[in-house]
């Protein structure tokens, strides 16, 4: 595979973490415009841990995920009792605040004779942990997809378990679910934390792939895209968001057929697709239909 194909597949993998993060909240009926903030938290935390403190990537990833989960709780605690559009707007506000805080974040150390670390709007260069260990692009791609596979397996197992059913019940009618004894508040917070950690994991991997991050990478466009991928792909299964990402970045971007006009084609395609399948490609009905075919 040439460098470009590896690059596109890596982007698909990285974006999938973010789309899955948005998907998790959608399953419990909450629409978040802010998962890109936790993606950014993961990127900055992971970058600082490896570039400034020499922590190994796996350890740094765990640290970043923990921080992502904490950040998600900090946003979720005051807002998760909000409904629909109010919750969505609070996540948007929180994420834009995070982006501006990244712009104000200046925290540098001299390591090996160079000053390294976040420098506000100048961004954060030199996250070279992966390059210094001579990891080939195709190997890093394998790591990303191994982690993605692990996350997917976990999600698909949860979906089949009792917890999966409870999550979907909260998503379809949270009043009814709480009437049946589900602690909706605590459950939604748990899901928000998990979604935050998942986005942070994607962030760490992105930072080390790109070796440079800046606040503008984590703007509202990223958040709206990840939400759209989950909704276009369909909420029936954890594979749905991946279909959304693969459709846009994989097919259209990768094909370069449309070149500059890719967004025009993607925009029109999605609008028409949503008319035919308002709940996305792999919605609940499609998943039942497929299960019926194969079980």
């Amino acid at each position: 595979m040439d460098d470009y194909t590896i690059g596109v597949l890596t982007n698909v993998g990285l974006f999938s973490f973010l789309a899955l993060s948005a998907y998790l909240l959608l399953v419990v009926g909450e629409m978040s415009f802010g998962q890109q903030a936790f993606f950014g938290v993961g990127a900055y935390a992971g970058g600082v841990l490896t570039a400034l403190y020499g922590v190994s990537l796996p350890l740094a990833a765990l640290g970043a995920m923990a921080l992502g989960a904490l950040a998600a709780l900090a946003v979720g605690l005051p807002t998760l009792r909000l409904k629909g559009l109010y919750f969505a707007m609070s996540t948007l506000a929180a994420a834009e605040m995070a982006r501006i805080l990244f712009e104000l974040l200046i925290f540098q150390k001299t390591v090996g004779g160079e000053t390294v670390g976040p420098d506000g709007t100048q961004g954060f260069r030199g996250i070279r942990w992966v390059f210094e260990r001579g990891v080939e692009p195709v190997e890093y791609l394998a790591i990303i997809y191994a982690l993605l596979a692990a996350v997917l397996i976990a999600l698909l197992l949860i979906e089949r378990s009792r917890l999966g059913a409870v999550l979907r019940s909260v998503g379809s009618d949270s009043e009814l679910a709480s009437a049946l004894g589900v602690n909706v508040g605590r459950l939604k917070l748990g899901v928000a934390a998990a979604a935050g950690a998942l986005a942070a994991l994607g962030g760490v991997l992105y930072a080390h792939h790109n070796t440079y991050i800046e606040p503008r990478n984590f703007d509202i466009m990223l958040g709206v895209h990840s939400l759209a991928y989950a909704l276009i792909g369909g909420l029936g299964t954890a594979l749905g968001p991946l279909v959304g990402v693969a459709l846009d970045i994989g097919a259209l971007e990768g094909s370069q057929v449309f070149g500059g006009t890719r967004m025009i084609v993607f925009g029109g395609l999605v609008a028409v697709l949503l008319i035919l399948r308002p709940r996305g490609l792999l919605d609940e009905r499609a998943v039942q239909w497929i299960k019926a075919r194969f079980s």
Binding site: P58, N210, N217
Partner: protein, 134 residues
């Protein structure tokens, strides 16, 4: 695959061994046809020109870098050592994040920000994401 599996398991916490910082500068000239620029990359390490590297240049938009990126271009070694030439075909003017991927004597990746216009390109003055108020 051994190297990546190795460090996944080991996760050894090692001091970040830093390849000496590589500096890169870019001179680009507008070729006359829309958004196509002829560029020369000057690579230096510790002050001395870095010759003999394989350089490929990709370009991303600062916002949504994972969705907007153009096919990377392989640069040809230029006249002087440490110089590499490449023709960049961008979709539009404005600020681009150029991703230089180096292989050969040193493996690294640098990201440079340049503002492209009708004449050529100059380092982008970094302003915040929030649009400035008049």
């Amino acid at each position: 695959m051994d190297k990546s599996a190795l460090f996944l398991i080991l996760g050894a916490a090692a001091l970040p061994l830093h390849a000496q910082g590589i500096k890169a500068e870019l001179d680009c000239r507008f070729t006359g046809t829309d958004f196509v620029y002829d560029c020369v990359v000057h690579l230096a390490r510790g002050g001395a020109p870095l010759a003999g590297a394989q350089v490929s240049i990709g370009a991303d938009m600062p916002s949504m870098p994972m969705a907007h990126n153009l096919k990377p271009v392989k640069a040809k070694p230029g006249a002087k050592p440490g110089d590499y030439e490449a023709r960049l075909d961008l979709e539009m003017t404005g600020e681009w994040a150029l991703k230089l991927r180096l292989a050969g004597p040193v493996r690294d990746q640098l990201v440079l920000h340049y503002e492209f216009d009708e004449k050529g390109a100059r380092p982008a003055l970094r302003r915040s994401g929030t649009p400035p108020r008049k």
